[in-house]
Each structure stands twice: as structure tokens, then as C-alpha cells.
Symmetry: C2
Subunit: 436 residues, 2 copies
Amino acid sequence: MTYDLVIHNGTIVTVNSKFEIIQSGFICITAGEIKRIEAEDPSRPLPDAIQTIDATGGIILPGLVNTHSHLPMTLFRGLADDIPLMKWLNEHIFPAERKHVHPGNVKSGAHLGCAEMLLSGTTTCCDGYFYEEKVAEAASEIGIRAVAGQGVIDFPAPGVENPAENVDHALGYIERWLERHPNIMPSVFCHTPYTCSDDTLKKAKEMALSKEVLFQIHVAETRQEIEQMQSERRMTPVKHLEQLGILDDNTLVVHGVWIDEQDIAILADHGTALSHNPSSNAKLAAGIAPVPKLIEAGVTVGIGTDSCASNNTLDLIREMNLCAKLHKATTLDPTVLDAPRVLKMATIEGARAIGLEKRIGSLEVGKAADVIIIDVDKPHLTPLYNPISHLVYAASGSDVRDVIVSGKVVVRNRILQTMCLDDIMYRVNEIAKAIR
Amino acid sequence: MTYDLVIHNGTIVTVNSKFEIIQSGFICITAGEIKRIEAEDPSRPLPDAIQTIDATGGIILPGLVNTHSHLPMTLFRGLADDIPLMKWLNEHIFPAERKHVHPGNVKSGAHLGCAEMLLSGTTTCCDGYFYEEKVAEAASEIGIRAVAGQGVIDFPAPGVENPAENVDHALGYIERWLERHPNIMPSVFCHTPYTCSDDTLKKAKEMALSKEVLFQIHVAETRQEIEQMQSERRMTPVKHLEQLGILDDNTLVVHGVWIDEQDIAILADHGTALSHNPSSNAKLAAGIAPVPKLIEAGVTVGIGTDSCASNNTLDLIREMNLCAKLHKATTLDPTVLDAPRVLKMATIEGARAIGLEKRIGSLEVGKAADVIIIDVDKPHLTPLYNPISHLVYAASGSDVRDVIVSGKVVVRNRILQTMCLDDIMYRVNEIAKAIR
């Protein structure tokens, strides 16, 4: 038989349940799915294929899963840094959003964010913003897989001037996108427990349950949030969400920097996953989420970049690097979050966190063919003793050579195949002139 | 007049004392020195030059200064990770060094390390290892500026079987290299206060003073080191070095993770600089040096990558990124180590830390022409509101396009000009086969 695509001549890091690594293997893909993964046998020819990609000794691994982004905020990359969070939000980010967030800009920013992610090895992202329909359109056009969450907040917001309509607005979007594109999963993103009323949170969760979509929410990002919640409700945000019935295995909590042992137990009990955003939490001086404890308690933890306004890149390989180092530095334990664990967080655990672990997150027969190839023929990746070490401690997004999503080659030799990158960057630069 | 080289059409980040940024400027270079830096005047032609480099809208800044490396250890990149420090040293690094550290391998590893540094924007490094003469040769051949410190330790070491000869051995090397190459500054590197006797430390410092070379030493890297020193001598390592007369403004202490307020005051009093190695200290779970306090006390702090065995790259731009984030995450202050401060640490403050601030570290008339150009025409550097933000929070070494050391173009369009990179990588890969 003839496959659509065969990728060969690389070290395959499967990230399957046995964490198998195949030295010099090949992968056969047809109709967007992985059909075979095997070690190459020099005495036998490669299977026939319409297209063959020679990984030339590189590392072949599942596409990375970015569990938290606000893609249109690429428009605000580096607009304001090194400023206290509330000042940053109130004097820089919120005013820029009020003035510049409209459907056209959202789509242009999302195109750039998607391009940056694909070019740095992320094949799936879990996003949330206003006008999320435009993000869904951008993602589907450029060929990235996305869980795209419409933002819900109890204030007048871009695209939803009347907060009373926020959940219904999200519902309309979700219904339009539920079966529209196989790689776009609509979702609802409630901003925080302190910017959404109890009624809004419950209504949004009920809606998410009825549509079987992911419910996302920022939780316990800063110490101030905990203090406010303790003073107003005498409980932690996680406990508050539990009491409202929000927490289950189709809810993703984002950040979780300030959570205690009891919060961790609650998340574990409900099967609720967490998106860890080490760069954003560090840069905004929010703190460091207790990831080793979360994992020990059995909570699924994925990695997220957060937005370009607080990171300032969407490079999940660099995020792995920071994640691996940050927790060692603060726990003083060099064995904490070792390289294989961090790679799992950025692939299969990230997929599990957003409910897609049966479809993506590892290279296995029957799964979607979301595959990336790392070029290791570089001075900073020489010599190569251990591919996992290089992925977590030495590589960066610019080492990603080829990217395949659902069997489609979307990046080849570092060139985006699906849209003109120069056009995308030109449009964002024009928007930035107005923002500046 | 005709200059040797004119670089134009970029945003010049001078890192001079006023931290001036010139939008669309040009730099004229002759005989390895900067002769003019000015804003471009569209009504006048550029000065005549033998060679002109168009930065095409990129960022032009001083070459970065890596204040701590062990270049030949690129041979051990990723050989062993996620292991407690003593086990890592005793079971992996020391055995590999005993077996594989000889002059040929040292030179090959140093070539690779130098190439990696140049290609990621570092034009000066401060190194220490055994057979440092081979590092000095490699650095001079490839065209990087280096302070190259011969290692001194009171154990049999590669190249110095008899520890009683270690300081004299270093002296011989220093005398051979003192006037040999304008860009290679020999130095002595005493390993630590617990692996060098008081006599060795004093003798080495006296020798360094007599030859006017930099004295380097690892100090207070781990908590265990402090406990050992407290138990044996009832004082901190910094206090111990002060009492031996080691600390002055031509001594560089490396790491300083476990130093207290009194230690900081001692360093400030003696004008002794510190090399901060955030990645290495984090990955080995040594901890986090109190950099904001050091800077507040007036101590000069540069940034170092440490070796590829503990980092695992030599990319100082990524090191800036980690440095900027790590201290915010742990102090919970988003204004700590802001982007301009971190850029200074990687340039002028690094130069000051190793005694070269009059020659390098900023773009100023009369200084050596060590210049790098960052290509910002990339999705992850779009849009550009603030070049300093991009350098610290969004760029990585692979965004460095051109590198000039002493007026000589050593990297052009990401291609190393002075040696064949493929040959360098081939040799290291051959050595790695034996190590593996």
C-alpha cells in the first residue's frame, strides 16, 4: 500500500506510556493518522508514500501542546514590561485592549501567534480571548489544532458590550463551531472567580457541560487574589469553585500559583487539570506554582506560555527549559521535574489537561499525525548523548525544522507552508503603528 | 577618509553611561576600533568604507560578555542531567574528565564552545579549565575575545599530575600568553576554597597580582559548601577569602549563591565582582544568588553560562531571559532586574567584572569594535515596541545575524567566517563516540 506521508531517518521519541525511543525509525501516515511506527531495517526498502520526509538524523516527536495562550495579544508583545501587575493591566494592557481589540486585529494577531507557535513546534494550543471566533478562523486557516475559548467576564468587553449576554454569546459561538472543523474545538473561558459572578460561573459551566466543551478559568494567579477571596468569602478560589460545582475533569484551571495542600487535594479529587505558566508567572512576579506537589498528588499538569504580553514569546521549548530549571532552583532538588517528566508535560500531559489525550500528545498508531522534527545538526545540540536532555535543556523553538498537523506538512525547512508569513507580519506591524 | 567597516540601518543600543539608543544609526570602524557612532542623516551619504554591513532594521548592540565558562566541557553537553551534584560530579563528570581530557580534546571542545558563543552573540568569554593553553589557542584561532584562566586545584589534574606544581604551571602559561595575542588575556582560576589550600590560594593570588591578571574562583555555590566551611573554619567562604587577602578588584568570584549580608558587604568593600550563573545554579539545584541585594550594595555582577555540562548551552541571550525572570519569581517584585539592568549585566557590567570595561561592553568611540546585529524580521520579534524588551524577553541566540570582534566580521548571515563549523562539529562528534 502507498501511504500519504512517510517520515524516516530520525530518533523517534514516542512519549507513549512506555516512553519508548526508537533509534532511526520511520512513521507512516495516511488520512491524517499514524498508521505505523517502526525501527528502520536497512535490508528492506521504506514503505511507499506519496511524500517522504528525511529527518536526516534529527529528533522526531509529537507536536507540542500549549495549554494556555491569548493569541491575539501577540499584538502587545513587549508593549510594557517590568511593571507591577495591576499598573501593567490598568495603565497598559486594558487601555490597549479597549482601543485596539476588534475582529480584524484579533484575527491578525492570532495569525501571527499561530505562525510563531507552529514555527517553534507547537501543534495544538488551548486559547482564550474576546472575538474568539476570529481566533478559531485564524487557527483553521493556518493549520494549527486549537481549543479556542470565548472569553466571559462580567464587565463590558470587546464584542460583548452587555455582560448579561456573555454566556449566551459564548454559546452561540460554540454552537457555530462544534462540528465546523475537525481541528478546532470551541470552549468557554471564564476570566477569573473575582471577575465573574457565581451565577455567571455556574451558567457557563452548565453550558459547557451541555455542549461537552472544555471550561477554562484563571485561578489563584496572585497572592492579592487569595487575600481578596479570603476576605470576601473566607475560602480559597479553588474551594470556591468546588462549591459552585465548577471543578470536574473537563475544567482546566490556569496558573494555580497560590494554592495550598487542600486546594491540591480538591483538584486531584475532581480530576481537574492545571496549566502551569512558568514564564508569565515569573515575569509578572506572581510567583511559582507548586508543580512537583501537584504531580505527586496526581493532578494532570500541562505547560502554557500565556500571552505575548507577559512572556514575551510562545516558544514552548523554552518554556520546558524554564519549567525544568525553576522548580529545581526553588526546591533545591535536582531530581525534581526531570527532562522526561517535563517533555511529557509539554506533550501527553498537556493533551490530557485539555481532554485530547486519545487523539494527540504521543506518537502512536491510531493517533492524529501531529509530528515535529528537530534539526540537531547545530553547534548548540552537539554532541548528542540523550535526545530528551537536548529537547528540554539545549534546544529552542528555532531548532524545529518541520511540522506536521493531522498529516499535513505546515512547516517545511522552517518555512510556513500554509500562509505567507511576511504578509502576517506586515499586517501586525501596521496595527502596531496605531498601538504605539 | 575611508573606514574599514561601516555598519548602518539599525537601532543602535549603545549601553553607554546614558544608555543612549540611536534610532537608525551608523558605526564607523577602523583598525578594530569604533571611530564614529551617529544617527543616519538621509540627506547625506554614508561615510566611505571598504566594507559596509546593512543591519536592515535590526538591533545593533555591543557583543555580549559571558563571565563564566568551561569551554572544553561542551564535550559533555547533556551527558548526565537531573542528578544530585556530588553524584553528578563523582560518577559522571570527574570520570569523563579523567579519561577524556587531554590537549587535543580540550582544543576541539573549546572550538565548538567558541563557535556556539559567537553564533549566539557572545564576543568575550571568561573561561577556566585544564590545559587552558589549548583554550587560548582555540579562542585566538576562531576570533573570540577571551580571558582564559588556567585551572589550579590541589589534586592531580589533567596536565598537572603533581599538585605542588599547579601555580607554577599556571605562571608558565600566563607568561607565555601575556603579550601573545591582543584578544587573549591569560588568567588563573583556583577551583574553590575547599579544593585549594590556603597556601595555594595565597600563592596563586600573589602570582596573579605580580602579572596583573584576573584571579577567578568558584565560591559559595552550594549549601553543603557553606556547612563544610562553617564546620571546619567557623566562617563563610567569602570571609575566609577576605582573611587570606584574595579579594580585590582584580578577583572574580563565581556563583555566590549562598552568601549573606556580611559577605555582600565584604565583596562591595573590596570591589570584588561576581559572576551570576542562573541556569547552572538552577539546573544543579544549587539555588539562586541574591543578585538584587548584590547590585544594591554596589557589587558589580556579570552573567555567566557556566559549562555545557550544567546548563546545557552557552547562549547568553537565553541566560539574560532566565536572569530577568528568576529573581522576579522569587522576590515577587516585577521591577527587580528590569530589562535594561539585565542587558547591562550581559555587556558593560560583565566587562567591568573581568576588568575590561575600558575596552569593551558598550558601543563608544575609542572602544574595541565588538558589535553584534540582531535580526528582528522574525515572527517572535514582531511587533517591535522596545528593542531592550525583545533582547531580554523574546530573542534567543539564533536571532544573532552578524558578529564583529575587534572590527573583524567573524559571523556573517549566521555563517561562521573564521573556521569550518562542520569540521568542528565532526571532530566533537568523533570524541563523543569514545565518551559514550
